[in-house]
Symmetry: C2
Amino acid sequence: MEQQYVLGIDVGGTSVKQAVFTVDGNMLKKWSISTDKADNGTNILKDISASVNKALSSLKLDKKQFIGAGVGVPGFIDMESGMVDFAVNIGWKKYPIVRILSDYLNIPVAVDNDANLAAAGEYWRGAGDGADDMILFTIGTGVGGGIIVKGDIVHGVGGMGGEIGHVTVIPEGGAPCNCGKAGCLETVSSATGIIRLAKEEAEKNKNSSLYKLWQEKNELSTKDIFELSAAGDQTANVVIEKAMHYLGLAAANIANVLNPQKIVIGGGVSAAGEQLLIPLRSHYEEYALERVKADSDFALAELGNDAGVTGAAWMAKTYLNEEK
Amino acid sequence: MEQQYVLGIDVGGTSVKQAVFTVDGNMLKKWSISTDKADNGTNILKDISASVNKALSSLKLDKKQFIGAGVGVPGFIDMESGMVDFAVNIGWKKYPIVRILSDYLNIPVAVDNDANLAAAGEYWRGAGDGADDMILFTIGTGVGGGIIVKGDIVHGVGGMGGEIGHVTVIPEGGAPCNCGKAGCLETVSSATGIIRLAKEEAEKNKNSSLYKLWQEKNELSTKDIFELSAAGDQTANVVIEKAMHYLGLAAANIANVLNPQKIVIGGGVSAAGEQLLIPLRSHYEEYALERVKADSDFALAELGNDAGVTGAAWMAKTYLNEEK
C-alpha cells in the first residue's frame, strides 16, 4: 500500500494539537486534546494514541498508509536518541518519546522542539512559500524562532540551533533575561520586553496617553501600545521604534550570516502587521548588507496555531520517508 | 576506471594555488602559478589547465580518474549558473567560469567563493576535525569566514552566506566599513581594525610603549600590539581586550543561532594563538547561552594557505560525485 499520509502532533502545556496531512501538505483533519500533566505527563502519549486511532477510523485511513508521525515538544530535545531531555511545562525529563510513541502508534516517529517545527511549518505551507533559506521569529511572551537553511531545519550539534531570542542586542547594561544572560533580544522585543520598555518610557512621560492608560488599567498590553501609537501617542511610538530597532538589528545580523530569502514574523505580537513591519524593515535595512537586503523579504506568518502540526508533518515526510 | 581523485584550485590576486587530492583527503601534490591579470584575467583558466596537465602527467594520473575540480574565487559567485558575478581583484565580471574551465580541463567543475572553501577545508582536513556544525572566522586585513551546517557550506539564497565580517557589533557611532555600513565586526576585529583601535588608544596614552613604538616606527602591526601586550603594556592590552570583546560578542551571537561544535579562528592575526583565544573565549562566554557554550570549542585554523585548495577539493568530491 502506498504510504501517502503523515501525522503532525504538537504537544503544548495546555493542549495537544494533532492533524493528518497528505504527503504534499494538505491538511485532512485536525483536532486537539487537553494535556494531562498528572504524574509528570506519563499519560499524554497514550491519550494521543487513542485520539489518533479515533481520527483515523473516522477518516477511514489505515496506519499502513502513514509514513510516520512528527511530534513537537516545548523543550530541549536530543534528536539522535529520540529523547526529550527536559520539557518543563509538560513534566518530561529524559523521556524516550520516540520509542514510547512509536510503540503506541505503531508507525515511525520523529521529534523536534516546537519552535523549529513552527519554522518548518511556515516554510512548507505558510509564509515561507518554499524559500529554502528562511528565518522565523516568533514574537510572543518570549522571542523564539527557527532557521531553515537549504530546505532543512538548523539544529546545531546539541539541538540548540535557532535560539534567536537570546542573541545579545544590548551588550552592556541590558535588562536581565530568563536565560541568565542580559540584554538578549527577548528582553526588548518580546511582548514582555515591549511592555517593560513601555513602562520605562511612560514613567519618563507622564503626560503621555500611554502613561494615562497604564494608570487607568494598572497594566499594559502590546495591543494597547500599538493602538496608542496608531492614534499618534509619541511615547508609544518611541517604544515600538526601540523594540523594532533591536529586532531589525538582530534580523540583519542573522541575515548577514545566512542570506535568507524570507524573514517571517509570527507569534501574538505579529498581529500588529504593517505597524510592526514598517519600522522593522527600516531598521533591518540600516544593518543588512546591500546584497543581503536585496535578496530578502519580510512576511507575516500565515499558519497561526497550525504551524506546529504542519511542521511536525513536514518532519515526518522529510525525515521518515525512506524512499526519499 | 574508478574515480578516486579530485582537484582543488584557489584563485588569488597574486597566485593560483592548485593541488591533487585523493577522495579521502590526502594531498598528493600541490603547486602554484602566478595570476595573469592582463585583459581582465582572460588567460588565467588556460594557464591553470596547462599546469594541471603537467602536474597530472608527473603524477602519472589520467583525467578519467578524477571526479572533478573545485575552484575558489575571491568574489561574488552565482553558484546556480556557475558564474563569477564579480571578482574585483581578478578582473572577472559575469564570467562563466564553470563552463570555460570544464571545457579546458574536460572534467566537471564546481565554483564557490574562497572564504566558504577555506571553511570547508578546515572542516574536512583541518581544525574542524569533522565537526558538522562549524564556524570559521578568518582574521586578516578584513574579517571573512564561512559557516558549515550539517556538514555543508551555508550559501544562502544569493551566495552571501557567511559574511560574518559584516555583523554589526557597534550599532551606534561605529567606524565606517568598506561595505558602506558602519560598526561592522571588521572595523574593530580585523588587522586593520585592531591597528585603528591601537592608534586611538595610543593617542589617549602617550606614555605607553604602544605610543612610543608607533612614533618610532611611524606605523603599527598587529604583531607589535600582541608583543607589547605580552610584555605588559596596558594600552596594548586594552586594544586586544576591545577587539576580542567584539569578536566574542559576534561569535556568541552566531553560535546562539547555529549551535556549532567548533569555532575556528584563522587568518594572519590568528598567529597570536592563545594570546587571542584567551580573551576571545572569555568574552564569548559572557554572551553565549549555557548549553551553546558547553557544546562549542575554539580552535586555531590548521591548514594556513592550503585551506582554499583543500576546501575546493572537498567541494569537488561532495558536489560533483554523482555516486554519492
